[in-house]
């Protein structure tokens, strides 16, 4: 296990380094793009351009520039926005992280519980009415844009039905969990449900097909021959093995969510997380902020994946030998 941990950590560090180089190259070495003009924002004056050129060492060779950028981002942590003069990027990001994590973790809990329940149900009652419902939900889950579903939810809860059934729904926004846990949950309820609704269908569908495969395995036949109850076979034997691919899918999705879909959900529900920070930065091309959020989010994703892999190896000894 120790050697696997070391190898996995080393590979994560290598990937982190490669990603930082990749981001650096995209922003600073794309052919035909003047990085100073991009960083300084739209319609920047000459003085700003010169300041940018000096700060990022744009007259120096690429490796030096890379080192300078990493220094600004992680050592001095003094990268500043040129659009909102003098606003530091890193504190903005660290302030926004709790919101994003609240959103993603809450949604993940809901979709895992609902998805596993639905997938197991569909496998247990295969061929009955519940089965096609799961299939349809799975297809909808990969077809409906999350931000659009969020807008429809807003339309119903904030406007059309706000005077009736949804009068208890607070206005869009975010309340910290330390300020008021109840309001925190109320504000996040519909964002959670929106995200979870789409993922639950996908997970139910993946789990269903895994379980149907598992139910045909020899060990299930052996268990049946021993007289184990169907319920026990389903929950103890089939579900347990079928969860392995679901868990690894979860690792990938959780990471992708922090960087991608959560961004869209935050924008729609007005949650001041990392995603919304990225969105506002995109609106006025605030490059240092985009650079910061992209790198921080990417790093978080790589770390999340490494943690999932380690947990996986702890559960399944075969993985350690791979």
């Amino acid at each position: 296990m120790l050697s696997f941990t070391l190898r996995r950590t080393a590979s994560a560090v290598l990937v982190l380094f490669s990603i930082s180089v990749l981001v650096f190259l995209i922003f600073f070495a794309t052919p035909g793009v003047d990085p100073a003009a991009r960083i300084a924002g739209r319609n920047a004056d000459q003085a700003t351009l010169r300041a940018v050129q000096h700060e990022f060492g744009l007259d120096q060779p690429l490796p030096v520039r890379y080192a300078l950028m990493m220094k600004h981002l992680f050592v001095d942590r003094d990268l500043t926005s040129f659009v909102n003069r003098g606003v530091r990027v890193i504190p903005q990001i660290t302030q926004a992280v709790p919101t994003t994590l609240s959103l993603v973790i809450g949604a993940a809990v809901i979709w895992m519980v609902v998805g596993i329940a639905m997938g197991t149900g569909a496998a247990a009652w295969r061929g009955r009415a519940a089965d096609p419902v799961i299939v349809v939900l799975g297809v909808l889950g990969v077809s409906i844009p999350v931000y659009w579903l969020g807008e429809v939810v807003n339309l119903l809860t904030q406007s059309r039905l706000h005077d009736g059934v949804f009068s208890w729904v607070p206005p869009l926004g975010y309340v910290g969990i330390t300020t008021d846990p109840l309001q925190w949950a109320l504000h996040l309820l519909f964002p959670w449900l929106t995200l979870a609704a789409l993922y639950a269908g996908i997970y139910a569908r993946v789990l269903r097909s895994e379980m149907l495969g598992a139910l045909e395995e020899d060990y299930v036949r052996t268990a049946r021959a021993k007289g184990v109850s169907e319920r026990r076979i389903l929950l103890k034997h089939a579900l347990r093995c079928s969860l392995i691919p679901v868990v690894s899918l979860f690792g990938l999705d959780f990471g992708a969510l922090v960087g991608g879909s959560a961004l869209l959900t935050e924008v729609v529900f007005g949650l001041p997380g990392v995603g919304r920070l990225t969105y506002t930065a995109l609106q006025n091309l605030d490059l240092p902020v985009i650079l910061g959020t992209v790198l921080y989010a990417a790093f978080f994703v790589v770390l999340a994946n490494a943690v999932v892999d380690l947990g996986y190896a702890a559960l399944d000894p075969r993985v350690r030998r791979a």
Binding site: T30, G32, V33, P145, V146, E151, V206, S209, G213, N305
Partner: protein
């Protein structure tokens, strides 16, 4: 939600090791694998219905100029702030002063149900939403299909080269794929878009303009390459060990010939299975990027930009957002169902497992 590529990867065949008789051997047989798959696909009612839906959407979008010119009589790309239109025989302004909230701003005309006079209403610049929806669909479909083709071509190239040659080639390509795989697609796409959308791309003699639709095609096509190339590489690695490849090497065939005649025909079904799923994924990514204002650029429209336009009008004129969102969801669902049908028809292993 919808757009996590991991889901597609999870639902798609992974590391298949089946071998298929080479194309030449089956050409004389009564039913080749392709024909067998086609017959099965046609029997699949869900897939057939999806294909019909896709055809309808495609034809409607292709007829966008006809609709704008001959039915709606508007130009959906120029704003019409002070224009008027006719509803129930009365002449009304397209943009009326707002009556809700503080009374600031304007409220565009809502859906009239009359194709000649703002069938789905107008957006906040007084442009016909229905006409924009059709034009936007062209961009969404074009970018979705273009990006998916780019992904499959590049992934095919990378997967076959890496899997076949192994060694240093594989080492380098596999590392690059790993890094791209670990990079969240949206962030990668956003980074590329932000940099390229303001200045275009210059690669040697090729120049792609900043507002060009080829930029989203390239960007989205590129970010999804690992999701197809990784399983493909695994498949080629397994094929490399097959007897027929050993035989081909034994009779002195060139690498190029082995890749073309022995390896490629065996991985093409996988690429075909991926294609509709990737079109759906690319289309959803395009709509998300356009929604974030780094996809299709104004005055061009796509379903994503229309959803974004509708964001400010959500509570007064929800039809703008709803129509575009339904268009995206229906098209993506049809593509996904079609993709499932194609997978069932082409991948016996998925059928054996009883996959959904």
């Amino acid at each position: 939600m919808s757009t996590s590529p991991a889901d597609v990867a999870a639902l798609a065949p992974r590391g298949q090791t089946r071998s298929r008789p080479s194309a030449r051997g089956t050409r004389t047989a009564a039913q080749g694998p392709w024909r067998r798959a086609a017959v099965q696909l046609v029997r699949n009612r869900g897939a057939l219905a999806s294909a019909v839906v896709l055809l309808v959407v495609l034809v409607a979008c292709l007829l966008a100029p006809v609709y704008a010119r001959s039915v709606a009589h508007t130009d959906p790309f120029t704003s019409n702030v002070s224009g008027t239109t006719v509803v129930d025989g009365r002449t009304v302004p397209v943009l009326a002063p707002s009556t809700t909230g503080l009374g600031l701003g304007v409220t565009p005309i809502g859906p009239t149900g009359d194709p000649a006079h703002y069938f789905l209403g107008a957006d906040n610049q007084g442009r016909d939403v229905m006409a924009r929806l059709l034009y936007g669909g062209r961009n969404s479909l074009l970018i979705g299909a273009g990006a998916a083709l780019t992904t499959c071509l590049l992934a095919g190239l990378v997967g076959v080269l890496a899997g076949y040659f192994g060694g240093v080639v594989d080492g380098v390509l596999a590392r690059v794929l790993d890094v791209l795989w670990a990079f969240p697609v949206y962030l990668l796409a956003i980074s590329l878009s932000v940099v390229l959308l303001t200045s275009g791309l210059d690669v040697g003699p090729v120049h792609i303009g900043a507002g060009s639709r080829w930029l989203p095609v390239l960007i989205i096509g590129l970010v999804y390459v690992p999701y197809v190339a990784r399983p493909l590489r695994g498949q080629v690695l397994a094929l490399r060990e097959k007897e027929f490849v050993a035989a081909a090497i034994g009779v002195g065939c060139s690498d190029w010939r082995i890749m073309r005649r022995d390896v490629l025909p065996n991985v093409v079904p996988t690429l075909v299975v991926f294609l509709p799923l990737m079109v759906a994924l690319a289309m959803l990514t395009e709509s998300a990027l356009s929604f974030l204002s780094v996809g299709v650029q104004a005055p061009q429209a796509s379903w994503g930009t229309i959803i974004n336009d509708g964001l400010g009008l959500l509570y007064t004129r929800p039809a703008v957002t709803l129509a575009a969102g339904v268009a995206v969801a229906v098209t993506a669902a049809a593509l996904n169902l079609l993709g499932d049908g194609v997978r069932e028809a082409l991948d016996p292993r998925a059928r054996l497992r009883g996959a959904a």
